[in-house]
Symmetry: C2
């Protein structure tokens, strides 16, 4: 953690930098304007008690020497950075796998950009990242936080609570009740798409569940059970740790081994479904004739499988935008709605089931 002395001692690399164009400082402005450094500082800080002549001279000098107001200095005065952090806590591989993350990011960026806030994305990919991101958020670098994929007892969540940073979670934070969140009803959505799979006449329906340590994963399994009722067969559920293609392949192979008569599959995400389709095809099963398969997300994956995937549309970009709007409203002093905001998730029926 930050030790005061340790972090504030000036030392190290900066002084040995190779020569480059030197940045104009407040001292250059003062010299150019023929006033004291304190007077320049008062003008920059918007304080009074500066003559209008001095103010005009200082403004001219700022422009002449190319002084850019130091945003860190502005922070000190305003106690704000005009930046909002988007913290993404995902295992490395998912950045290349899960198109939702990119879509959430872009939705949030567009909404924050429209309000002239800078979105800064912070990746948490290790214990070390967790500690450093916590420190960063404890600094004055961001006025608010959007938190994607928070874990149970997430140290970053604790930091957000402790310092009272305006924050909104994407997805329901596992062990936090007082925080704003935007999400979808994973359980009802999973139930809805499984019911449609049942309605197509499938009788041996399995599920590839994923990420059961998160609400999203656990709720999708619960919705699947809801839809099947008495016909639910735990032997037809195979759980994998992550929403990823490779897990879909191996889990489907396992389900086929356990129940060769399987004729319907709900995969917990489109990436998992795409992997499962790959395994089904390798096993000589035709889709949707032999096995009907449905996914979850309506991501770019869903349009690339052959046949295209029936799935639940998850409004990822909308989630990013809604989370940004929620943080912005908190920054404007509003209290976010209790219970969070749930966005709609229509079922999209295509050729795979």
């Amino acid at each position: 953690m930050l030790g005061v002395k340790h972090t504030l001692g000036y030392s190290g690399p900066v002084s040995t930098d190779p020569p480059r164009q030197k940045r104009a400082t407040i001292i250059d402005v003062a010299r150019e304007a023929g006033v004291s450094r304190g007077t320049v500082s008062r003008v920059i800080n918007g304080e009074r008690y500066v003559s209008s002549e001095a103010e005009a001279a200082i403004k001219a000098a700022i422009s002449k020497v190319g002084y850019r107001p130091n945003v860190a200095a502005r922070n000190l005065v305003m106690q704000r950075s005009q930046a909002v952090a988007l913290v993404v806590h995902e295992p490395a591989s998912l950045f290349a796998e899960d198109p939702n993350i990119g879509a959430i990011m872009l939705g949030a960026n567009a909404a924050l950009s429209a309000a002239d806030y800078q979105m800064v994305l912070l990746i948490v990919d290790s214990e070390r990242d967790t500690e450093r991101v916590s420190r960063y958020l404890s600094g004055s670098y961001a006025d608010g936080v959007i938190m994607v994929s928070a874990r149970t007892h997430d140290p970053i969540t604790r930091v957000i609570e402790k310092i009272g940073l305006p924050a909104t979670f994407v997805g329901h934070p596992p062990d936090v009740t007082q925080m704003a969140f935007v999400g979808i009803d994973n359980r009802a959505s999973a139930r809805a798409i499984t019911e449609r799979l049942v309605a197509t006449g499938r009788s041996r329906i399995g599920m590839i569940a994923a990420a059961l340590d998160r609400d999203s994963g656990a709720d999708r399994l619960a919705g699947f059970r809801d839809a099947l009722g008495d016909r639910f067969d735990a032997n037809l559920v195979e759980a994998v740790p992550l929403y990823e293609f490779a897990s879909g392949v191996t889990a489907m192979q396992e389900l086929l081994r356990r129940e060769p008569q399987i004729d319907g599959v709900f995969a917990a995400s489109d990436a998992v479904a795409a992997g499962a389709m790959n395994a089904l095809r390798s096993a000589g099963r035709s889709i949707p004739q032999d096995v009907g398969i449905v996914g979850f997300d309506d991501s770019t994956w869903a349009l690339r499988t052959k046949p295209q995937l029936s799935t639940v549309h998850q409004p990822a970009q909308g989630l990013g935008a809604a989370a940004a709007a929620s943080v912005l409203s908190q920054l404007h002093g509003e209290t976010p709605p209790a219970g969070g905001v749930l966005l709609d998730t229509p079922v999209v029926w295509r050729g795979s089931a």
Copy 2:
């Protein structure tokens, strides 16, 4: 742009925030320690001329009231933020399409993290983003920059040059000669894989070129020409704007229309190749029997096509790590090597050609 008065006037939302735990300030520390605010400030800034009793009292007070040293204040003193910005300038859709970006990001994050630097990712997705990111980099929020996908006359590149911010580009920056960069030899790599395609006996070889407005795209086309020499036929080149799946589909349809006898294709990226394979299959062509196809990147795409894709391995994570190392070495006062750093790109031969 930043008007001094405008940005520094304190106004607006913060004062009307809903009640939350108030952050301890330097004033609380001064009150608790029974000293003046100026004395606290001198201790925090590491200045001398403070009695050791006062210093001890202040340290105890800092701990008691829970004062966290303001990182923005530290910025002012140290002129550094311990953060490095990764600027990604890509059209929205590519975040979900191009696994390279995620891999570059993760490689850079791991390397910066190991050096205890915070990586902050800034997305440029609009004119407005360009201006705001330029402003952000002009502030004291980042000590250095890794720039991905710089464009010709990129305003952000201009800002980096103007303020002399330590920076490294991923890929050769189009109109900049003095900057550090890490990249690959696109031309030699494209030549190498096209030569292997020729060696498999293909006689009517076309290319789906992409992103010709960037060095990467233009160089891959040049390498393709190098390999074919006299046999190069401009009629068998179809250019698309972006490295994306959908463009691969339509470009391949167009090539098939122009030359039904086409028997070899070099696609400028794996995503483009995957789209082209989709179109070839829809047109009843078998791969590699009727048409051999090769890509570029060796991304996750390459392992998901059937058959798997022969391609050029682009070390995306390595590029991110090398770019981070280059920025870090500049922060330590070293001068980056002239001409940049080129990483190896082995050809990976699989089933598609």
